[in-house]
């Protein structure tokens, strides 16, 4: 009989080796850990953009002349718009309805005459409000373009434009306003949730389905060794996926990492353990791969996507939903990630959120320890 301690180490080593071999031989594990992150990053890095650029805009110049042309040129030169020109409002409205353009700026035939005569020339703006967010952005840009034209117009006449309050705008942390800079770090949280919770829940359910769990349980292995044997290899796999995502963010998408890499590593490690604990907990509830996958998607992946602040700002959610976001671990991690990538080591943000994650981890593992039993019931 070997000593119990030596036995525990041997059992753990055996479990870890078995699990690692299975990961290496299972193409679906590798796909979730390494192919999926690349696909998601490429999709979100290149495909999804929350910036408004090259908005198709209809410019209706009912009576083209020097003034209306110079007004139109303000839109033409802007990188935010790609204007199309119309001479009557009807054809522009038709194109708006057909979604060929997103907005119409309408200069009536008397634009120049009223501009020169009374200085109260009206400009008509029609927006496609189906996508309210896009409509607001467009409206803001239209106003910006028109204001800068006004300034230039006034300056050209040696006048000062009278404005009681002037806005002087500076954008911090993401001066270029690239949505990629905040989407890509947030994706790291989603990818790690996928590996930690979904993959782990699936592989444990697979052991139940194939009957190997039953055989494992009738060996001297302790339940903590079994759990640890599952956690360790998938921890390494998940951190690998994380490093791959960070490397791609940094070098493929030029997202700057303002904060400390080591801090990022520590925060990720805590979040990884939270995700693993969730995955293992799901597997104690469901012993069927299909159901385990459904639960994992529903309670870990979708919340990480929607309720973490990765895409949708938590501050603008309705109050009850905001409350719910507090139980989504990804929320804390996304906050850490966005701060580390874009703002730097903002200690209050990092420490506060890391403490929340740490607490979640402890609670989840405590529940797991109580729930997981060496029993088929």
């Amino acid at each position: 009989m070997s000593t119990p301690r030596g036995g525990a180490l041997m059992r753990l080593k055996g479990m870890v080796r078995k699990e690692s071999l299975q990961i290496l031989r299972d193409p679906s594990s590798i796909a979730i850990a390494f192919v999926m992150p690349v696909v998601l990053l490429l999709l979100f890095g290149y495909g999804v953009s929350l910036d408004a650029r090259h908005i198709p805009l209809g410019l209706v110049l009912e009576h083209p002349d020097a003034n209306s042309s110079s007004f139109a040129a303000a839109f033409d030169q802007s990188e935010y718009f790609s204007p199309r020109y119309y001479t009557d409002i009807q054809s522009a409205e038709r194109d708006l309805a057909a979604q060929r353009i997103d907005a119409i700026v309408w200069l009536r035939a008397d634009f120049s005459k009223r501009l020169l005569a009374r200085g109260d020339a009206p400009v008509g703006v029609i927006l496609n409000g189906v996508d309210a967010n896009q409509a607001r952005i467009t409206s803001g840009y239209v106003q910006g373009a028109w204001q800068s034209w006004l300034l230039a117009y006034a300056a050209a006449r040696g006048q000062e434009l009278k404005m009681p309050v002037a806005v002087e705008q500076r954008v911090w942390f993401n001066p270029a306003l690239r949505s990629r800079n905040f989407l890509v770090p947030g994706l790291v949280a989603v990818i790690m949730t996928l590996i930690g919770a979904l993959l782990t829940a699936l592989v444990v359910a697979r052991e139940w389905e194939r009957g190997t769990m039953e055989a494992l349980m009738v060996t001297p292995i302790r339940i903590r060794e079994l759990l640890l044997g599952k956690v360790m290899p998938y921890f390494v796999l998940g951190m690998g996926g994380m490093l791959l995502s960070v490397a791609m963010a940094r070098w493929q998408f030029d997202v700057p990492l303002q904060g400390s890499f080591w801090l990022l590593l520590i925060a990720s490690a805590i979040f990884m353990l939270v995700a693993l604990a969730m995955g293992l907990l799901i597997s104690t509830v469901s012993r069927n791969q299909f159901v385990a996958g459904q639960i994992a998607i529903l309670v870990t992946f979708l919340p990480a996507f929607i309720l973490s602040g990765f895409i949708f700002d938590i501050g603008s959610m309705p109050a009850p939903i905001q409350v719910i976001t507090h139980i989504v671990p990804a929320r804390y991690f996304v906050a850490i990630l966005q701060s580390l990538f874009m703002a730097g080591d903002i200690w209050p943000v990092v420490l506060g959120n890391a403490a929340a994650l740490l607490l979640m981890m402890l609670v989840l593992f405590a529940v797991l320890r109580r729930k997981a039993r060496k029993s088929l019931e």
Binding site: S2, M15, R210, G211, P220, K374, S375, L376
Partner: protein
């Protein structure tokens, strides 16, 4: 080598009960079971599906806890210290507990780590085990690429890495070919003989009971008996007879089964074996007709006779199916019937793997034709091709005169098919399932109603007509599946492993119905891995690894293996002989 105190039982149960709750229903898996298993011998745990065999195994392994009563394994209370129990037993679950994506060696390494085998002892232990199970040449092969028999032996080796004092084997021989079964038994005997291991082995094969030192008979969660096989069969001396007559064996069997004094009548070889309720030959006068050339011969009672006697409670309730099935009789089989199924040099390839290679056979009208072989021999693939569910890679298949390549739909209209697994809708009632199939076969309204009535009464399903079919017992599910396959009165009936998992009594009843159908002219094609069921077939095709091993009547096949030592070989002996001859010839060719 025996290190145990001889007096201490290997396993002890006192008043053990276990109930499982599934939704609103409670299933009593074990009810007040008390028994003691003697150490250093093989104890067989025997009973039909749902008897509680697996539950008893899992209780002993500490995987589930008893609701009431006490379990001691090797003197240790399982509820109190399951880890101590798990450290000293070996347990092989029904699916062997192997990691299919790990190699043979890696599986052994894992279990050696888990069982705490010191690294220094491993090389010798592994070599010994691999030699014993014959897997030494395959250490690098992935477990998933092993045959069923090899998987079972690797599973056994894994449970033996640290020599257990009690070995629990849960249905280790299900779905495994007879050769592997025989090898498993010799390994088990060796363990008992050389290491004094106590073995508890559950099985649904009644013939395996005879190989055990002691037998525990479970039925519906209750202990029906415990003793040596002779203890069971001994009291039945003088009850068992073997009969022949100048009658087709199936006809004779049907006549005898209806006799009031007969508890059991089965076809065995070319004879009919009868168990009489009294210790005297059955009273043939009750037949009301004389059977030409009848010879009655007393034979030794065996465990199976005792099993049937106990489960039927001595009451002769051999089903009077003849009257019930009357409705489907349409014509009488003639001697020179045409071939209704013709298979010629059929091949089926999956990538580079040949599931079926060059199989040919013909089945005549009214014949019962069996496809025999272990799991993976190519039986099911052949079947799917005959049903038009899978195109052949080469060769031709004709069913009821239709070439399946061109007219699969026309052929299917003449076929009744009963799939391997229960394939009816579990949430629909019995009646709804039958109605669905009647509609699916496009029966006219009037016929539909009469066929549903026929099915409900002919198969004794009337009492359960409005019950969800998922709630039926396995035997009744199988009846319902057969009824559904017969809704459109097919000329040809395909049965894919119809009796696997069904208890021996239901199996007997099922074959009576099949006999009746064959007598009424229906052609039956059946696959099975129960060798004794081969006796019910007129002719057989034995397959191994996609090839034809032998073809002919059961009597012909057995005759090829008759030796002075073995004057009356069983179908299993014949099968093993065929496999061995094949291995020899391929060894000679190589």
């Amino acid at each position: 080598m025996t290190a145990q105190t001889p007096s201490q039982p290997a396993l002890e149960l006192a008043g053990v009960s276990k109930t499982f709750h599934g939704g609103a229903r409670a299933i009593a898996a074990l009810q007040d079971v008390s028994l003691q298993i003697r150490p250093g011998q093989v104890t067989g745990l025997i009973g039909p599906d749902g008897a509680g065999k697996t539950t008893l195994m899992r209780l002993a392994a500490g995987l589930v806890s008893a609701d009431a009563g006490m379990l001691k394994v090797l003197g240790i209370d399982v509820a109190h210290d399951p880890l101590a129990v798990q450290s000293s037993i070996g347990y092989m679950p029904q699916r062997f507990g192997l990691y299919e994506d790990l190699s043979v060696q890696e599986n052994l390494d894992l279990y050696a780590d888990l069982q705490g085998v010191p690294p220094g002892q491993r090389p010798a232990r592994f070599a010994e085990l691999l030699h014993m199970v014959g897997l030494a040449p395959f250490t690098g092969r992935l477990a998933g690429r092993l045959s069923g028999g090899m998987k079972q032996k690797l599973g056994l080796a894994c449970t033996l890495v640290s020599p257990p004092r009690l070995l629990l084997l849960d249905e280790p021989t299900v779905g495994v070919d007879p050769v592997s079964r025989r090898e498993l038994w010799s390994i088990v005997y060796r363990l008992v003989r050389e290491h004094g291991t106590s073995v508890l082995l559950s099985t649904a094969y009644l013939d395996e009971a005879e190989r055990c030192d002691a037998v525990i008979l479970l039925h519906q969660g209750r202990l029906l008996g415990h003793g040596s096989p002779a203890d069971f069969s001994g009291p039945l001396a003088g009850h068992s007879y073997s009969l022949t007559a100048n009658l087709p064996k199936r006809r004779l069997q049907m006549l005898l089964a209806r006799l009031p004094g007969v508890v059991d009548a089965i076809i065995e070889g070319e004879r009919v074996r009868v168990v009489s309720r009294e210790a005297a030959p059955p009273d043939l006068r009750a037949l009301g007709e004389t059977i030409p050339g009848l010879q009655v011969q007393p034979v030794a009672a065996r465990f199976e006779d005792a099993f049937v006697m106990r489960l039927r409670g001595g009451a002769a309730d051999a089903v009077d199916t003849a009257a019930a099935m009357q409705g489907s009789t349409r014509r009488v089989a003639r001697a020179e019937d045409p071939a209704v199924i013709a298979v010629d040099q059929v091949q089926r390839r999956f990538g580079a793997f040949y599931a079926v290679k060059g199989v040919s056979f013909e089945v005549r009208q009214g014949e019962v034709f069996g496809l025999l072989g272990a799991n993976g021999a190519g039986k099911s693939t052949t079947f799917r091709m005959l049903c038009g569910l899978l195109p052949a890679s080469a060769g031709s298949l004709r069913v009821a005169g239709h070439d399946l390549r061109h007219a699969a739909a026309q052929a299917r209209a003449r076929i009744g098919y009963m799939a391997q697994r229960f394939s009816l809708y579990v949430h629909l009632s019995v009646r709804q399932n039958l109605t669905f199939f009647a509609n699916a076969y496009n029966l006219p309204r009037a016929r539909r109603a009469s066929r549903i009535q026929w099915a409900l009464h002919g198969f004794d399903l009337a009492d359960y007509a409005d019950l969800p079919s998922g709630d039926l017992s396995l035997g009744y599910k199988q009846r319902l599946a057969l009824a559904a396959a017969l809704m459109h009165e097919p000329d040809i009936l395909f049965l894919d492993e119809p009796t696997s998992g069904v208890d021996p009594l239901a199996r007997r009843e099922f074959w009576q119905r099949i006999n009746l159908l064959a007598e009424s002219g229906v052609t039956v094609l059946v696959t099975t891995h129960f060798m004794d069921e081969a006796n019910y077939c007129d002719r057989l095709l034995i397959m191994a690894e996609g090839e034809t091993l032998a073809q002919g009547t059961p009597a012909e096949m057995k005759a090829r293996f008759r030796t002075p030592q073995l004057p009356d070989p069983s179908m299993e002996d014949a099968f093993i002989g065929l496999i061995e001859r094949r291995a020899e010839s391929s060894g000679a060719a190589a």
